[in-house]
């Protein structure tokens, strides 16, 4: 059953990924992108990382893809004629891609299974070896994905968390620097001044 689901999601995501690049209408390609994200989150659920799967749905589909769609619909993009260009570059792309794919496939004969290596692997003291009586039910830990993330992200890998924060700060500064026009000659409403105004005192008669 799992294999069927895996094949379904992965083949669909590959096909949709191809269609993202090849479809002429940009709105169609954004919609296919959304479909790719859906399929990938299905794959992630199969892997058992449901937190990442929901993150994909919420962040990529909910925020980014919708934003893309919004921008694409706002711009009036003429659908260009790619055909001649594609046929010119297609053969060399196929040759290079196939060559590289073959090379990669030659390497990937083995499965991507991680070898757990630690130099003192056999020497580590483990509670299981010391205590003859083990309370198994206390050792069975059922924690959710998000708890696992939180328990390492804020302790051992807090550095990553902080640096990701700095990267987000950079992107924020960059967006402001590149798009915000600071102009003095614009007349803005100052709402607090307007609210503060006492209408009885606004018009003042002077003797001159």
């Amino acid at each position: 059953m799992e294999a069927i689901f895996f094949l379904f999601f992965s083949s669909l995501s590959l096909i949709c990924g191809l269609l993202v690049v090849t479809s002429k209408n940009p709105i169609h390609s954004v919609l296919f992108l959304v479909l790719v994200f859906f399929n990938v989150s299905g794959l992630l659920i199969l892997l058992g990382v449901e937190f990442l799967a929901f993150l994909f749905l919420i962040v990529y589909v909910g925020a980014i893809a919708v934003l893309f769609l919004f921008i694409v619909m706002m711009l009036s993009i003429k659908i260009p004629e790619y055909k001649t260009i594609i046929y010119r570059y297609l053969p060399i792309g196929i040759i290079l891609g196939l060559g590289f794919l073959c090379e990669v496939l030659l390497v990937f004969e083995s499965e991507l299974s991680s070898l757990i290596v630690s130099p003192f692997g056999n020497l580590t003291f483990n509670n299981f070896y010391l205590n003859s009586i083990t309370l198994w039910d206390s050792n069975v830990v059922a924690i959710t994905n998000i708890e696992v993330f939180a328990s390492v992200l804020y302790t051992h890998y807090a550095y990553f968390f902080i640096i990701s924060g700095v990267i987000l700060l950079v992107s924020m500064i960059g967006a402001i620097t590149l798009t915000l026009h600071r102009r003095i000659d614009i007349k803005r409403q100052k709402i607090y001044k307007q609210v503060q105004k006492d209408f009885a005192k606004t018009i003042v008669w002077t003797s001159k």
Binding site: V107, L115, V170
Partner: protein
């Protein structure tokens, strides 16, 4: 290890990140305040950031800890990293100093440019002391994001926007390749730490599948890093971005980030992947020779100074990779001596680009033929241009000759004779375009007397100090050579430490 020690070990970076927050708050509040009449803070923040960099340099070079791992083995602090960090801080201070007047002339009023420069320096400093694949990736992203924005800073100019966009698209692609390589390594070995990777590769070189997989992964990593170094065949972005980006940014591009990436490559090639170095060697050699050839023959045709410098940077990167490809201690020693001297020459040559203005029209040096005005107007600058370009070409009594000579000696010692011959021949050809610059300055003198804007104090001090250094390097070359020797020895020693403990 107690947490306090880690904080001391990484004190410079923590200081930098926290001071950047204050600078941002200061800039945002001041530039938007109507009481102060919306001041332009670029100059002010430049001097503030120079102060920050001064303290940062002190903290880096007087760190009481010399060798430690920090934050759960994610970062490493050793003599090598603190040496490279000091060089980077000094070079950044130099680029900020030479860009003071430029911002004024070109009306680059966004104070964020300085903040982004400091953030890029943070990224590079963290990159140098990264010891974990994920922290390496994060640090690279931090620095390259800042560089993308810096390239597109002058948003009214089409060239600058084009440069930023091009750099962003190509850089994102190369980061993707790098990340793919890193994830393949994790997939094949389950290791993220570079020291663990070294141990793993040194004890199990017979598992063919894993080694093949790691070779493939290291190919991806190498492509990503060579892109950032602008080595051929991943150089295509370099000339356009050098030309399009604001010249201050180009000065930063040309000098600072490359040594950071090169230090990272040293950690990869001489620590993490040292046991499979032979599979990297061919790639290094091919990339180096192609870079030298393209840097030489591409620069022959250039008419613009910035593009000329971009091609010369590609060629110099090829020379550095030659030293890298030897796979021995002397090789990286020669490479790092080369890059330190090259950074000096790059900074001086960009000082000329930034500092020479015609008084009436306020036009800068764009084309090579603009150089003809210099002999009459300012003979001292003309003389120092001659020294710097002779040094870049590698004419004997100057510093550039020695850095090239060390590389040739190392290449011959590790019996790469063909490569050495090719490199010497191309080096002779490359003399042509450097010396053409000098010929334009001294012998094609136009008889127009063009008054130039006076070079300001900071630039003239810098030009004179560095030019004197380049001239006098032959008399007393030992300080740089010894210090590079000292710090690089630690890299080699780290291998033994990791292996025997």
């Amino acid at each position: 290890m107690s947490f306090k020690v880690e904080l001391i070990a990484m004190a410079p970076e923590i200081f930098l990140i926290s001071i950047i927050q204050y600078l941002i708050i200061y800039g945002v509040i001041c530039t938007t305040s109507s009481h102060l009449n919306y001041p332009i803070l670029v100059n002010n923040l430049s001097w503030l950031s120079l102060q920050v960099l001064f303290f940062l340099g002190l903290m880096t070079s007087y760190n009481p800890l010399t060798y430690t791992l920090a934050f759960n083995d994610l970062l490493i602090l050793d003599e090598f990293s603190s040496f490279i960090k000091t060089i980077i801080i000094v070079a950044t201070a130099c680029t900020i100093l030479i860009s003071l007047k430029y911002n004024h002339f070109e009306r680059i009023n966004a104070f964020e440019s300085i903040i982004l420069l400091l953030l890029a320096v943070t990224g590079i400093l963290l990159l140098i002391s990264s010891f974990n694949l994920v922290s390496i990736y994060l640090a690279i992203e931090l620095q390259s994001f800042c560089l993308y924005i810096l390239a597109a800073l002058n948003r009214t100019s089409e060239f600058s926007t084009e440069a930023g966009l091009k750099y962003f698209v190509l850089g994102a692609f190369s980061s993707g390749l790098l990340l793919f390589g890193l994830s393949l390594i994790y997939g094949f070995t389950g290791i993220l730490n570079l020291g663990d990777l070294f141990q793993f590769l040194s004890v199990s070189p017979y598992n063919v599948y894993v080694i093949n997989g790691i070779n493939l992964a290291s190919l991806f990593i190498l492509v990503g890093l060579l892109f950032k170094l602008s080595a051929v065949p991943f150089h295509l972005w370099a000339p356009d971005i050098y030309e399009g980006a604001p010249t201050t940014t180009t000065a930063f591009f040309a000098s600072v980030p490359k040594i950071g990436i090169l230090a990272l490559l040293t950690r990869f090639a001489y620590l993490g992947f040292y046991d499979i170095f032979f599979s990297w060697q061919e790639l290094f050699v091919i990339s180096a020779i192609c870079s030298i050839l393209l840097g030489t023959f591409g620069a022959l045709m250039q008419l613009k100074l910035k593009r000329l410098l971009a091609y010369s940077a590609i060629g110099h990167m090829g020379f550095m990779l030659i030293g890298f490809s030897c796979g021995c201690f002397e090789g990286i020693h020669a490479t790092f001596v080369y890059i330190v001297l090259y950074m000096m020459m790059a900074i001086v040559s960009f000082t000329f680009l930034l500092g020479i203005y015609q008084k009436k029209k306020l036009t800068r040096l764009h084309y090579l033929k603009d150089l003809t005005i210099l002999t009459n107007s300012n003979p001292l600058i003309a003389l120092s241009i001659a020294f710097v370009f002779f040094s870049m070409a590698g004419i004997p009594p100057l510093a550039g000759f020695f850095s090239k000579m060390f590389l040739f000696i190392v290449a011959i010692q590790s019996s790469m004779y063909t490569i050495a011959i090719i490199v010497v021949l191309t080096s002779v050809i490359s003399c042509f375009y450097y010396i053409r610059v000098i010929k334009l300055v001294f012998f094609d003198t136009s008889y127009l007397w063009v008054p130039l804007v006076r070079l300001d104090r900071e630039k003239s001090i810098m030009v004179s100090v560095i030019t004197t250094f380049l001239v006098c390097f032959a008399i007393y070359p030992l300080p740089i050579i010894y210090s590079v020797q000292n710090v690089l020895y630690f890299i080699v020693r780290n291998q033994f430490d990791l292996f025997y403990t």
